[in-house]
Amino acid sequence: MSKAECVLFVEDSDDLREMFVELVDLVLNRRCIGVGSYEELVALGDRALGCGVAILDINLGPSPWSGIDAYTWLREKGYTGRIVFLTGHADTHPLVVAAKRKGDAEIVSKPIDPDRLQAVVDG
């Protein structure tokens, strides 16, 4: 399996994560790993680092960790793939502003259609 074939998706909503993973698998013909929390991402370890693109929800629910923490963990572990933040929150929200400061990450606002999803995954 090459790096470019794998998509990492970190999203706390079970429904959205399941739909995303199946859609990427079925429509985009990419392998996709769905992760529901920061802790699960850390537990995933090298499998996560092996993906070519990581799509991170900025808000990971009631846990103290956010997508920005996931970004930081990935980069600290030497992850060199593309990182995209997917958020449903206002551009002016402090977490989104903090994500914008991560210069090498793209920020995409929910909701997006499947065509846009393909563009995001393909880069």
């Binding site: 079970d14 399941e18 992760v35 529901g36 206002a90």
Partner: protein, 282 residues
């Protein structure tokens, strides 16, 4: 934040209270200073102070239900009893050689602009202090009139003029202050409404995204469902339009430091289904 109409009533209430307190304290003090004036009666000062105390009690009772009208009415009654008392006592003061004419009236004309609840009430009160001084002058004994310094009693008009200018200046300042507070209150409400809309939009975005992806999956797996999926597509497109429309509220909202996204405190959608989540790694 105090609403501006309440603030106006509170200003009026406070002004009336201060005016009554000055009367209640000032009149007995005036009598104390006049104790050596021949035949100076006690009753004008006492009645004026008594009415003032009664007005203070009324104001304290109505403290929670203060209105501008109440403040103005109390202020005018207080001014009226003060003027009656001064009218009587100034006649006795005038019989003394050392009398400085209409000091209390001049003081009143300058004190009114600092505490008057409304413009009309303030102007009437200033006119009362000036007018009664001038009228009193003309009912004094001609010998006393001749003895008064040059320019009296007309100096009181200069005090009245300064008082009127000060009154307008102060009331305009208060009105400006109330306008600023009103605008601040409106801005705070608008920001709260904007924040509410944004929370609504933020909370809806993930479910909308789920429907969009689920529809795409269904379309791929069940092409026969296309006519139905078109309806869902149109419905979700409208929801997405709504989401974009609510984006305009972002500019009205200032997030506070440490703000968390709204759904961090909302029930997780995990609890909405009994099925264990699939496609979860690890």
């Amino acid at each position: 934040m105090t609403a501006p109409p309440d603030l106006e009533a509170r200003h009026a209430w406070r002004g009336a209270l201060v005016a009554a307190a000055l009367n209640a304290v000032g009149m007995p003090f005036d009598y104390f200073l006049a104790r050596n004036v021949p035949n100076m009666p006690f009753y004008p000062s006492a009645l004026s102070a008594l009415v003032a105390v009664s007005l203070i009690v009324l104001l304290l009772i109505r403290r929670r239900r203060a209105t501008v009208r109440l403040g103005s009415a109390v202020f005018l009654i207080n001014t009226l009893v003060s003027l009656v008392a001064l009218w009587i006592t100034s006649g006795y003061w005038a019989t003394t050689q050392a009398w400085t004419p209409f000091q209390a009236n001049k003081l009143g004309a300058l004190a009114v602009p600092l505490i008057a609840p409304e413009l009309r009430v303030g102007l009437v009160s200033i006119a009362g202090f000036a007018g009664t001084a001038i009228a009193k002058f003309y009912v004094l004994d001609p010998e006393i009139q001749r003895r008064l310094p040059i320019g009296e009693p007309w100096f009181v008009l200069i005090f009245a003029m300064f008082g009127a200018v000060l009154l307008v200046y102060r009331l305009r300042g208060l009105a400006f202050e109330r306008d600023v507070l009103r605008l601040q209150a409106e801005a705070a409400v608008s920001a709260e409404v904007a924040r509410g809309f944004l929370r609504l939009r933020d909370y809806a975005n993930t479910p909308i995204q789920t429907i969009v992806f689920a529809t795409a999956l269904l379309r791929r797996r069940n092409p026969d469902l296309e006519p139905i999926l078109l309806h869902i597509n149109r419905a979700t497109a409208r929801l997405m339009e709504l989401s974009r429309a609510l984006k305009s509220y972002e500019s009205m909202n200032n997030w506070n430091p440490g703000d968390r996204p709204s759904d961090r405190v909302a029930p997780s959608d995990r609890s909405a289904t009994a099925d264990p989540p699939r496609n979860r790694a690890a």
